[in-house]
């Protein structure tokens, strides 16, 4: 129909040279990525296929990382020959990961909603402490456990009481809010597309988001522990601790053992966070993922309450959250905690894979 005017394009030059430079950088940066990206990639096809998608999203992550990484690791080919890559360039990848993690953590802890949740978590041990101080232990009708009765004798026990109470619902809910929101929330307000265009990399973004949620879990549990430690020491006597197994340990060792409990409970919450993030990749409505997680927690607790269903118990996340009594024995009884940690790890692996398979193959249409 019309004639060809193969309009020559001449306005190039500088832009292109700069681009090649950037490329070299990326090669280095992508390098640190390969481990996760490459491994991830193979199963991406599987996840994608299961979804009825072409799995292009998944390939988008790993493929490039691997290809570029091979160049970046040793040398970058330039017009002038081969020049080696300085360690700083190769180090670029972990630094970029850390920067993104810093950004995530900053966002999480600057967000008013999350600050309020942490404040509430700090407040509850104060209320428990005051209640115990005023009315004594819940004793009476046989509900009082050994730990409860010990609080009035030693303030340190308030930490155990507060954690074993809050781990039932309040801690899981706050973790669900942050983890459930992590992907769906960004999809909902549209920031997810700009993060991916940056490009954050789907696998990298998901990994960093999970790391951020684990940081939040640790912060939430630590806030509860510190608050109850302070309140306990202020309202109740302090001193060497009489263990459940009979012996005593010093106050300092007691505090160290609280540290162990904090880590254990954090691991339990991190396992829940994996479930919540998997739900978060399935929806663009953050509140759906949060509510879904809370419902799952409650259902698990209800199931766990039926003695007839005791066969299910080992498979329920909720049955292991309270399993930290072992630190109050001498020597520390690691059996139950070890099994708990195994259960947590299994949940992280299973639900982490679900989240990853879904997220790397999903169409981002909002």
């Amino acid at each position: 129909m019309s004639t060809v005017s193969g309009e020559p394009i001449t306005r190039r030059g500088a832009g292109r040279g700069a681009g090649e430079d950037v490329n070299g950088d990326v090669g280095g940066a992508a390098d640190g990525d390969t481990g996760v990206g490459a491994a991830a990639d193979r199963s991406a096809g599987v996840g994608g296929a299961a979804d009825g998608d072409t799995g292009v999203g998944a390939a988008a992550d790993g493929g490039a990382g691997v290809g570029a990484g091979i160049v970046g690791a040793g040398a970058v080919r330039t017009a002038g020959g081969v020049r080696t890559v300085s360690p700083a360039r190769v180090m670029g990848a972990p630094r970029a990961w850390l920067r993104l993690l810093g950004s995530e953590v900053g966002l999480t802890f600057r967000r008013p909603r999350n600050i309020v949740m942490l404040a509430v978590l700090a407040l509850v041990p104060v209320l428990i402490g005051i209640a115990l101080r005023t009315f004594g232990g819940p004793g009476g009708g046989g509900g009082g456990t050994a730990i409860f009765e010990q609080v009035t004798g030693n303030g340190l026990f308030l930490t155990f009481v507060a954690l074993s109470l809050l781990v039932q619902l309040l801690l899981p809910v706050s973790v669900a809010v942050v983890a459930g929101d992590s992907v769906a929330g960004e999809a909902g307000i549209g920031t997810l597309r700009y993060l991916l265009v940056a490009p954050a990399g789907r696998t990298r973004l998901l990994a960093v988001k999970y790391a951020n949620v684990v940081v939040f879990c640790l912060a939430a549990v630590t806030v509860v522990a510190l608050s109850s430690l302070l309140v306990g020491l202020m309202l109740f006597p302090a001193g060497p601790i009489t263990l459940l197994s009979g012996g005593t340990i010093s106050l300092l060792e007691g505090v160290l053992r609280i540290g162990l409990v904090v880590l254990y409970v954090t691991a339990g919450m991190a396992a829940l966070a994996a479930v919540s993030m998997a739900l978060s990749t399935l929806t663009e409505v953050a509140i759906g993922a949060v509510a879904g997680t809370v419902v799952l927690v409650i259902v698990a607790q209800v199931l766990g309450a039926f003695p007839q269903l005791s066969a299910l118990q080992p498979y329920l996340l909720t049955s292991w959250w309270n399993g930290f009594d072992g630190v109050l024995r001498d020597p520390v009884a690691t059996g139950e905690m070890g099994q708990g940690l195994l259960a947590f790890a299994a949940y992280v692996v299973v639900f982490g894979s679900v989240a990853w398979a879904r997220f790397t193959s999903k169409d981002i249409t909002c």
Binding site: M1, S2, T3, V4, S5, G6, E7, I9, R11, G13, A14, G15, R16, A18, G19, V22, N23, V26, A29, A30, D33, G52, D53, T54, G55, V56, G57, A59, A60, G63, A64, G65, G67, A68, G92, A93, R95, A96, R99, L100, S103, R110, R111, P112, I189, G190, T191, R193, Y194, L195, L196, V197, A198, P199, A200, G201, S361, D363, I364, T365
Partner: protein, 339 residues
Amino acid sequence: MSGMPGHTGGAVLTADEPSAAGTASAGDCSIVTRGLTKRFQGGQVAVNSLDLAVPRGSVFGFLGPNGSGKTTTIRMLLGLVAPTSGSWELLGTPMPAGVSGVLPRVGALVEGPAFYPYLSGEANLRRYDAAGPSADPRTAGMRIGLALERVGLAAAARKRYRAYSLGMRQRLAIAATLLGPRELLILDEPTNGLDPQGTREVRGLVKEIAAEGTTVFVSSHLLAEVEHMCSHVAVMRTGRLVAQGPIAEFRELRAGEAVRIRVESPDTAEAAAVLAALGLDEIRLGDAEVSAELGAEAPERICAALVADGVAVRGLAVQRPSLEDVFVGLTGKGFDVDG
């Protein structure tokens, strides 16, 4: 003819012509797509065998009515949506394998701004800058400052995004595309929500960026805007490409159509008689105006003849068919939502 090896989709292609994009050499193109197709769950085919060739250094207008598949195409180009079939290259790199290497050199605005409402404009840009794999954190502050300045938001940098007006949000989204040195900008309706001043600024900005050698791929349904800033144009209709090529070729397309002269006058009958006496065809009488095909006649001679005959001439204009007429022709029923 189109389809010659080495040429980059230079000719205007229309639906009844074979596509040249498939044979375009990727080295000269910032964006090449081959048979790119997206069928959404539910069967909606949003983009249908798209063959685009966007020459390096061009300002490429991507036109189409609402729902014609512009945003879906852009999402596929950026790896946000997986195509059902077809392949594409950005900056000479096959995608989606090259996403992590190519996207740092691409700035993109996709379907409007999206930011964290509780962060300031500046903190929002810092967040997106941190997401990339290769941006240098030491220069982030400087780059963010420059980007904000370029879009005229420096004064509102510390204001929370929640408190931004629609136009400010759009400007911030444009700033986000300018955080680093880019070889390609993909802008989905960049002037959406901007005031006339802002629209003109964006146009100026696009020209400025293009002058630096960056390819700009800009989707729009505002023809005037595209006519003002683009060197190349592609037109979509219900997911299909109906034409693409240098804008000059589109102007040629309408060159065949009649140029008309329009006379504004209360004395329409007399004016029509004068035009007829001058031998003009296709005379149409309107309400206080008369128009005719200009043909080979010089407008100044018509004016003189009208005045000599005592016709009260209130206005005289030469009307060329607008690009809009060309596009409406190409997109059929005009710029309405199809399907």
